[in-house]
């Protein structure tokens, strides 16, 4: 342990400081991000419509949902099983602004849907500041069940049609384009939205706001002692996480599925998003993309492998449940062996390669 002089040589010190400043230090991950974004934007030129709509779109949208849940659960440590419910708010909110508010700009109602979800997140966050740790699950479950019930029960939300399914009216457009009709256009919209929101998320988690979330998650008392307003930080995590989940939910319903219904946003959806952030890496941005890929691809891979191995339908019963078994086992394995998920494994790998 060296004794340092209080006043140090400014000449030498400046160089050292310059190398540590965030703009320099973030170099590597920034290049990764740019390369990734470029790939996404170029995809339509080498991937067919099928790949774009059946895999790329849901993958990007689920990753966005993952970012939202990760902010609340991964960074701020507030375990939320309400992802599905929040996504529903985004979808049904966007629908309400279109149908009851008469707004025809896709982007505007999308953002309004997100805002509505942020407000719901804020409201759910308030009781969770008084309750701690594990019990936050209960408020999020209450929200989950209530919201799904609400959207199926109050006819205003599905414009009084006989079933609570919603689809965007064809008058909703962006710059004269009808987004739901054209797979390429909707793909680009999703890509640009996801890139932009991922960039925003990265800014947030690397700012004092993000550090506060981690501090509150890991050492609540120490965080208070250095002046962090713990309650505000938690509520913010719910609100911002809610915003992302709302946007993801709206995109999922209207650009991917083409319609939304309460069942699609049920507990299974909440678990799906939770699983993807555990597998991908809680407390990371990149991990959400990894986790979403896993969650979408694994069932396809298993079905393909199983029919290749088993071939006939005698084992169908076994097959259809294999995804669940493998997911569950994967979750347990990750939590025991590498709780920081695949993102950490990849980081370890790249550090080894760099040596």
């Amino acid at each position: 342990m060296q004794t340092s002089d209080v006043t140090y040589d400014h000449g030498k010190g400046d160089d050292l400081l310059a190398n540590d400043l965030p703009s320099k230090g973030a170099g590597q991950s920034r290049w990764q991000g740019i390369a990734f974004a470029a790939l996404l934007l170029a995809a339509p030129s080498f991937a067919g419509d099928f790949w774009l709509s059946v895999f790329m779109m849901p993958w990007l949208i689920l990753s966005l949902a993952g970012i939202g849940l990760n902010i609340t659960t991964g960074y701020a440590g507030l375990l939320s099983i309400g992802a599905g419910g929040f996504m529903a708010v985004g979808a049904y909110g966007m629908y309400a602004f279109a149908v009851h508010g008469g707004i025809e700009n896709f982007l505007v109602i999308l953002l309004l849907g997100g805002l509505a979800t942020a407000i719901v997140g804020f409201l759910v966050g308030i009781p969770s500041t008084r309750i701690g740790g594990f019990y936050v699950i209960v408020t999020t479950l209450a929200a989950q069940f209530f919201l799904v019930w609400l959207f199926g029960d109050v006819p205003w939300f599905y414009n009084y049609s006989p079933v609570p399914t919603i689809a965007l009216p064809p008058t909703v457009q962006l710059f004269g384009l009808n987004l739901t009709n054209d797979p390429i256009v909707s793909y680009y919209f999703v890509v640009v939205t996801v890139i932009a929101l991922t960039w925003v998320a990265k800014n947030l988690v690397e700012s004092p706001i993000g550090r506060n979330w981690i501090a509150v998650r890991d050492m609540n008392i120490a965080a208070q002692v250095i002046g962090i307003k713990v309650n505000s930080s938690k509520i913010l995590a719910f609100a911002i996480g809610g915003f992302y989940l709302g946007i993801a939910g709206a995109l999922w319903a209207f650009l991917f599925l083409q319609n939304g219904s309460p069942e699609g946003f049920g507990l299974d959806k909440s678990f799906q998003v939770l699983f993807l952030i555990i597998i991908g890496g809680m407390g990371t941005i990149r991990g959400n993309f990894i986790g979403a890929a896993f969650v979408l691809l694994l069932p396809i891979v298993i079905t393909a492998a199983s029919s290749w191995i088993f071939g006939n339908s005698e084992f169908q019963g076994l097959l259809s449940n294999t995804d669940n078994v493998i997911f569950g086992a994967l979750i347990v394995l990750i939590l025991i062996k590498e709780p920081e998920g695949f993102d950490k494994l990849i980081r370890n790998l790249s550090t080894k390669i760099q040596r």
Partner: protein, 293 residues
């Protein structure tokens, strides 16, 4: 007025079912400090097993015994393989692990034993009886009575038997219990085993009235509010809370539905639980020690 009583009583009796499920959670929580989400899947597995064997022609007692043994083995395996290596993780992490286990067990149960709903006939007719002018389901009464018996047996176990007292000691103060020579590992296994058996009974009763299917697993989603309201460590609390939740749910469904639509049951218990968390976080009978902020 009789509608009110009938609704209330039916709800209360259902609530005792919730209590039974909640008790199986409490047994694990007191031993391992975790809310075992996999409980539902494990209940489903053992109940499906039981029903399948009955379907294959096995005599009731034999099927029951084998189901009990299987459920105990499953529980002990889960405790050993999943919970033990994670003993130092946070409550949140442990919960997520049990979530994973539930998917595994659920997948196995349905994959091996099939996904169709199976009926379960326990030999009790569901004929209505009149008690003081009010219509009550015979089956519900029987189920409630059975639950009470289980509670009494458990109470006796915990207060009169050596093993039971040891389990309580471990729950109260693990270090002290160890220092008087109690084998922790064995206590954990006993707790999980007991929990599995109670869970099996709960599954059987529920299955007999609603059919044995994967919806059994959702029974556990009712257990969480009961645990919150009654306290995670108290069996008496679970009974009282179960009655509150069951009764409240039934009344809300009957009397509020005309105004706000049906299906309240999905969230009513949870909103009640949230209210309790805000007003009285330790639950009606729970220990203050649970609060972890």
């Amino acid at each position: 007025m009789s509608t009110f009583l009938e609704t209330l009583i039916s709800g209360v009796l259902t609530g005792m079912m919730y209590s039974l499920v909640a008790i199986s959670f409490i047994l694990i929580f007191r031993a391992s400090g975790v809310f075992n989400y996999a409980q539902g899947a494990m209940m489903l597995f053992s109940t499906l097993f039981f029903v399948t064997m009955l379907g294959e022609g096995a005599p009731f007692i034999v099927a029951l015994l084998i189901a009990i043994i299987t459920s105990v083995l499953l529980a002990v395996a889960v405790e050993r393989v999943v919970l033990r290596p994670m003993a130092n993780s946070s409550a949140v992490t442990l919960f997520m692990a049990t979530l994973g286990v539930s998917y595994v067990v659920n997948g196995l149960a349905q994959g091996i034993l099939g996904t169709e709903t199976q009926g379960l006939d326990l030999g009790i007719e569901d004929t209505p009886i009149f008690v003081g002018g009010v219509l009550v389901s015979r089956f519900d009464l029987w189920a409630a009575g059975f639950s009470l018996c289980v509670v009494i047996l458990l109470a006796l176990f915990f207060s009169r038997t050596r093993l039971g007292i040891s389990v309580r000691a471990v729950a109260d103060d693990t270090a002290a219990a160890q220092s008087v020579g109690i084998n922790l590992s064995r206590i954990w296994q006993v707790s999980w085993a007991l929990s599995a058996v109670v869970g099996l009974f709960a599954g059987m009763i529920w299955g007999a009235s609603q059919g044995v299917s994967f919806s059994l697993e959702f029974l556990i989603l009712k257990a969480l509010p009961v645990l919150i309201i009654g306290g995670f460590t108290s069996i008496e609390g679970a009974i009282v809370a179960g009655i509150l939740v069951g009764g409240g749910e039934a009344l809300a469904e009957t009397y509020l539905s005309p105004y706000i639509g049906g299906g309240l049951g999905s969230w009513f218990a949870y909103v009640l639980a949230v209210a309790f968390l805000l007003i009285r976080p330790t639950g009606l009978f729970g220990d203050a020690a649970i609060e972890r902020v």
